[in-house]
């Protein structure tokens, strides 16, 4: 078991001050990361947690030096970072192994790039392969291995260069539940027993449980724009148990922070495209998913724990949050402190027939500025049709690269509500009569 290092011993490895990452310029500017401040000290295991699109991976890439911040400073051991961070490596979500190299060659490549001699390369690679428990698989190709084993190669390769700061980019999310659990355990053992020279670990994840089980500190991020909303220290001792009440309490707390709280209506709706004011994106959730959530909530008696219902519906946080957001936006549900509650309207929707549901959705989504704008544009047109291109261009000015997804969701909702639809042959949107 690791003894927590005292503050005096711990040095600051990494400091981020007012880091901003934005794409595009002027009106079309999209802010991926806004004003992030954080520190990572030696001996720490820090998790960056948040829904997809909150800029957590972007932040990780900035820290590793793969990407450059638009403004703000990134200091490593007090020195500003320029180019690739020589003290950090990344373990990638999709492993990023070279499929044409064997396990051993994949590990050796990192050493080859540093000019390590052939013999030493070999010895060090073999030792690391042994450490991660892949003894006997040196000459196998990645495609012959299971996902868990591939990620072990990813870890061995990252450790080969003996990084001070090990960056993990959702390293377990492409694995099945069992392999992920096993690999987590093995990583924690290496880390806690100090058998690797790594000084600090920074992990990106959208899995709350994973963060609570592994991290000393969880940095919770939110999107639009991507920013840090909370820091949750986890002081529980290792090894942590998922079922442990203390663990569950923290998980619940983090859930409450991530899911936020239903905003007052005017603020939530935002302004229409082309109009001044704050724009809100439509959550990327299909109406069918929303209907499923409403029915489930209704079954559960109209109120449920988000963490619990995510498990019941087998939805990852990334898939659950947009649906919850859609429910809030349409006024079907309220979220507070990690709990979701059905509103009377939501209840009516859940009990309604398919036709009645369409009518409810039509009435509700017409309040959304983007949908309303599309609807009115079509109404003003002589033949009730307008080229998709027109909407896309307008949306691009507000949402940049996300315009396509926004329009797709708007069409999905509009189609469900039988307000408007899309003609694939002519690439036009048209009003349903």
């Amino acid at each position: 078991m690791a003894l927590p290092q005292t503050a005096a011993q711990a040095e600051t490895l990494l400091t981020l001050e007012h880091v901003v990452k934005a794409y595009g310029r002027g009106e079309r500017m999209f802010v991926a990361v806004q004003d992030v401040n954080l520190q990572v000290r030696t001996g720490e295991f820090v998790c960056l947690l948040g829904p997809s699109g909150c800029g957590k991976s972007t932040l990780l890439r900035i820290i590793a030096g793969l990407d450059q911040a638009t403004s703000g400073t990134v200091l490593y051991r007090g020195q500003p970072l320029s180019g690739v961070n020589p003290h950090a490596t990344i373990v990638f979500q999709t492993f990023a192994l070279y499929p044409w190299l064997t396990v051993q060659e994949n590990v050796e490549v990192a050493l080859k790039a540093r000019g390590v001699s052939r013999e030493e390369r070999r010895a060090r690679a073999l030792k690391l392969i042994d450490v991660v428990g892949l003894d006997g698989f040196e000459s196998a190709y990645p495609r012959e291995l299971s996902g868990g084993m591939r990620q072990k190669v990813g870890f061995a390769r990252a450790m080969a260069v003996e990084p001070e700061l090990l960056c993990l980019d959702e390293p377990f999310s492409a694995l099945d539940v069992l392999s992920a659990g096993a690999l987590r355990g093995e990583l924690m053992e290496l880390w806690l027993s100090k058998s690797i020279p790594t000084q600090a670990i920074l992990m990106v994840t959208h899995n709350i449980e994973e963060a609570v089980l592994m991290a000393d500190r969880i940095i919770v991020m939110d999107k639009d724009p991507g920013r840090v909303v909370a820091e949750v220290p986890v002081t529980l001792r290792y090894p942590r148990q998922r079922k442990d009440t203390a663990c569950q309490a923290i998980t619940d707390r983090v859930y409450a922070v991530v899911a936020g709280k239903t905003e007052p209506e005017a603020e939530a709706l935002g302004a229409a495209p082309g109009q001044p004011g704050r724009k809100t994106k439509l959550p990327l959730a299909r109406i069918n998913g929303l209907a499923g959530l409403m029915e489930k909530l209704n079954e559960e008696g109209g109120r449920a724990d988000l963490y619990h219902i995510g498990g019941e519906l087998r939805l990852e946080l990334d898939d659950l949050l947009p649906i919850v957001e859609a429910a809030e936006l349409l006024g079907f549900a309220q979220v507070a402190q990690g709990d979701i509650t059905l509103t009377p309207l939501g209840q009516t929707f859940a009990d309604a027939s398919i036709l009645a549901r369409k009518a409810i959705v039509a009435a509700r989504i017409l309040r959304l500025p983007t949908i309303r704008w599309i609807f009115e544009t079509l109404q003003q047109d002589d033949d009730r049709r307008t080229a998709e291109e027109y909407f896309l261009e307008q949306l691009q000015q507000e949402f940049g690269d996300d315009a396509r997804a926004q329009l797709d969701i708007a069409i999905n909702w509009g189609r469900y509500a039988e307000l408007f639809a899309f003609d694939d042959d002519t690439d036009e949107l048209y009003l349903e009569s």
Binding site: L66, D67, V84, Y98
Partner: protein, 583 residues
């Protein structure tokens, strides 16, 4: 197990991919002026070409055949080596430097649709003006093959370079691979499969041009090269059927041997460079590869000679070792042109403009009737190309669908078709002439037949590939609908085949236009025969040394083909990509 992001499937069609550029751009006009300038320079040089050029003596003895086969293969190998080097350099530059990309990619796009064979006469004449005859012919054959092979390979490499999976690229950066290590561990392996497929395509196309170059002779100028092509021509000319058979047999044997001993093993070996993380259903196999990999000597060679050599070579190529971080690693490629390069480009541009101006001057000396003849010739050749395409479509669609949807039939017929298809149409042309010349309109028939031979295989292979991708469940569903035969074709088969037919037809029509150069005029049995067409005009101009006509004819052919490509094929291609894709 999901490995999303990495497992991107790459589909290979038997045709170079087309770029998404607007139908006709300023860049095209510029490239055409450049081509005109180049042709003008060639024609100027050609003024000093000797009036009488004698070809080599060709022996029809079967014993000479291995030697001729070796000569032909050596020419192909030399041209291919050049093509490969060029492709890698060009593709690398275009992918890595955004300034270079803006020039190189549109250029590539026009060049790959230009009928390369149109350059043969100019290249031959200009080179024989400055070089000894044998060397000039050899060199122009190689130049011709390179210009025919290089574009699709370059394009494939460029495309691979620009579609490297994000995370593999980032891994290379984070582990600080230097440019050489990055090239050998990431870029080249990732491009390997596409490059090899395109090399095979290029090699097959190369035979077509080699045979044309080995056979080419007009009037008193005999540019032939000792090789299988010339052998076949002489044999047909003398009506020696036995020698024709021997010649064709040797050609087929050479091509099959190269396929079995060279391309199949390479393909089987390159299977490791696939990106998808699951084992393939049917990995390419090669008996020769299996044989080699079991060999003790090969293993030793690899461990003792190749391994250390590769290591040492790599060290040298990497130059300074150590912790160098290259700024171009992180994200976008650099896009700067140094002042020196800019000056060079400007000078080149001026030279091109001057050449274009002089070319225009030469063209203006051409009398109006000659222009009329060129117009008529283009139309006649166009009709021939259209006829050959129509015939090819008529038979390849039903046969291709039959083969593509019937596994049993496919296993029997596929190898046979592949062997027949491997015979370059240009090699068979003398044989067609021998068979058809005595008929009324015989040369016309022979020309269409040769175009057909050149076009139909691309179509057939594409139709087979298309038919075999029609999903089984879709076929069952359509069967259950009890549609009439015609409706069945109209609702399922033809739409599913459409993209494949279009890609096949683009390559096929390119081949047909190329064929016109050698097919419309022929010296046979001591007499010269010709038919109306732009190809015969070009050949005639070459023989008589009418350089204005040569330039005008060649340009007219190029403009026509590029125009048809842009105005017609590209539209169809885009339609196919957008509407009829099956994925």
């Amino acid at each position: 197990m999901s490995s999303r992001g990495i497992a991107r499937k790459r589909v290979f069609r038997f045709s170079p991919p087309l770029l998404r550029t607007p139908p006709l751009a300023w860049g095209d006009a510029l490239v055409l002026v450049g081509i005109a300038a180049l042709l003008y320079a060639g024609a100027r040089l050609a003024l000093r070409a000797p009036a009488v050029i004698s070809g080599p003596e060709i022996s029809l003895a079967p014993g000479a055949l291995p030697w001729y086969a070796l000569l032909s293969t050596a020419r192909m190998a030399a041209a291919y080596a050049l093509s490969l080097l060029f492709s890698l350099a060009y593709g690398y530059a275009a992918a890595r430097n955004s300034a270079a990309r803006r020039v190189l990619i549109p250029l590539l796009d026009v060049l790959q649709s230009v009928p390369i064979l149109a350059f043969l006469p100019v290249v031959l004449l200009s080179l024989s003006a400055v070089l000894p005859q044998g060397l000039a012919a050899e060199l122009s054959a190689i130049v011709l093959i390179v210009t025919s092979q290089v574009w699709n390979m370059t394009f494939s490499f460029y495309q691979s370079m620009t579609t490297l999976p994000e995370e593999l690229r980032q891994a290379a950066t984070i582990f600080r691979l230097d440019p050489w290590l990055r090239f050998t561990t990431l870029e080249l392996p990732f491009s390997a499969v596409g490059l090899i497929w395109n090399s095979m395509m290029s090699w097959a196309g190369g035979w077509f041009f080699l045979m044309a170059a080995e056979i080419f002779s007009v009037g008193s100028r005999d540019f032939r090269l000792p090789g299988l092509g010339a052998y076949l021509q002489v044999a047909a000319n003398r009506g020696d059927l036995r020698a024709v058979l021997f010649g064709v047999g040797t050609l087929v044997l050479t091509i099959v041997l190269l396929d079995q001993l060279c391309w199949r093993p390479i393909l089987a070996w390159a299977d490791r460079f696939r990106l998808d993380m699951v084992a393939g259903e049917e990995p390419p196999r090669s008996w020769f590869m299996d044989l080699l990999s079991r060999s003790f000597i090969v293993e030793r060679l690899e461990a003792r000679v190749w391994g250390p050599f590769a290591e040492r070579f790599g060290e040298r190529m990497r130059g300074r070792r150590g912790f160098r971080s290259d700024p171009s690693y992180s994200g976008g490629a650099e896009g700067t042109i140094s002042p020196r390069l800019a000056a060079l480009l400007a000078a080149g541009g001026l030279l091109v403009l001057y050449g274009g101006y002089r070319a225009l001057g030469l063209l203006l000396t051409l009398p109006a009737p000659a222009w009329g003849a060129i117009g008529l010739g283009v139309i006649a050749t166009f009709l021939r190309v259209t006829a050959s395409l129509a015939i090819a479509l008529l038979w390849t669609i039903p046969v291709g669908v039959a083969i593509g949807t019937n596994r049993k039939l496919a296993t029997i017929l596929q190898p046979v078709v592949q062997v027949i298809a491997s015979i370059p149409a240009t090699a068979l042309f003398p044989v067609f002439v021998l068979a058809l010349l005595h008929l009324p309109g015989g040369l016309n028939l022979a020309a269409v037949l040769m175009m057909l031979m050149g076009t139909q295989w691309y179509l057939l292979f594409n139709v087979i590939a298309g038919a075999s991708t029609i999903p089984q469940d879709l076929r069952y569903t359509t069967d259950m609908l009890r549609l009439s035969r015609w409706d069945h074709w109209r609702t399922l088969i033809l739409p599913a085949l459409f993209p494949y037919i279009v890609t096949g037809a683009i390559t096929a029509s390119g081949g047909a236009w190329n064929a016109s150069i050698v097919a419309e005029r022929v010296d046979f049995g001591g007499q010269s025969h010709e038919t109306i067409g732009v190809g015969s005009l070009i050949a005639e101009a070459t023989g008589r040394g009418n350089y204005a006509l040569l330039l005008a004819g060649t340009l007219a052919l190029i403009v026509t083909v590029v125009g048809i490509n842009r105005a017609f094929w590209r539209r169809l291609y885009r339609l196919a990509e957008e509407r009829y894709r099956m994925d």
